[in-house]
Symmetry: C2
Amino acid sequence: MDVKVQIEMEKAAQILKLLGDKTRLSMMKLLQNNECCVCELVEIYKASQPAISQHLRKLRDIELVKERRQGHWIFYSLNKENSYYQFVLNILESLPSEDGRLNELEKQGLRISCC
Amino acid sequence: MDVKVQIEMEKAAQILKLLGDKTRLSMMKLLQNNECCVCELVEIYKASQPAISQHLRKLRDIELVKERRQGHWIFYSLNKENSYYQFVLNILESLPSEDGRLNELEKQGLRISCC
DNA sequence: TGAATATATAATAAAATACTTATATAATTA
DNA sequence: TAATTATATAAGTATTTTATTATATATTCA
């Protein structure tokens, strides 16, 4: 059964606005099960590096995602500590998996495996 | 238990973008349990009539809400026939009730009771 | 049928968002 | 330590969204 924690209207609208973008929403779904670095996302979404960086910044600013530096790379993942994590997860669970996109990368030898 | 019907990424983003506005999100929550006419929404949100009409149009365009004409008034409500109704409902259920706003109207004698 | 009321639409202006190009920062490695 | 690589940020521009003002449509009622 789902947990239904209530969330203020304003905060909800703010989060939904950020999720209301195809690239960001798909990124969030991808990050639900995976840690990804920026260059992988650039490859997957065929977008410019600054464009991806700026999407990530917005998600980071409201703490929906967190980063972990490892050498050259910065790995992004969902921030499970966030008070609104459950709200976001509820939405992500209605979306089709995007993991296939990472498998594609792997096949092309472009996956940045950590460590 | 929640029904979790999967929904295409693009459609989800489109819906979330519309919900990602404070006024529209709050309106949707209000309409979850109530039928409201435009003038009530204008009063509640202290917005101009065209502004409210245009918000409603967007929600109507993707069939999240439906209208019912009765005399001068046009009453809006959630469109439960929509394929994405369950998805939307899932989100609305995490939000605090807005019914209090209608009670306020009622007290002021501004509620348009149907029939 | 004409006036009044509720709502919609069109045109425009203002504000917010997203993308591009250029540059900065931080870590790695030769 | 200089060159390279991954990422971030800033500035400018283009695009999208929202609100405003003016006007049109539809219904009711005198």
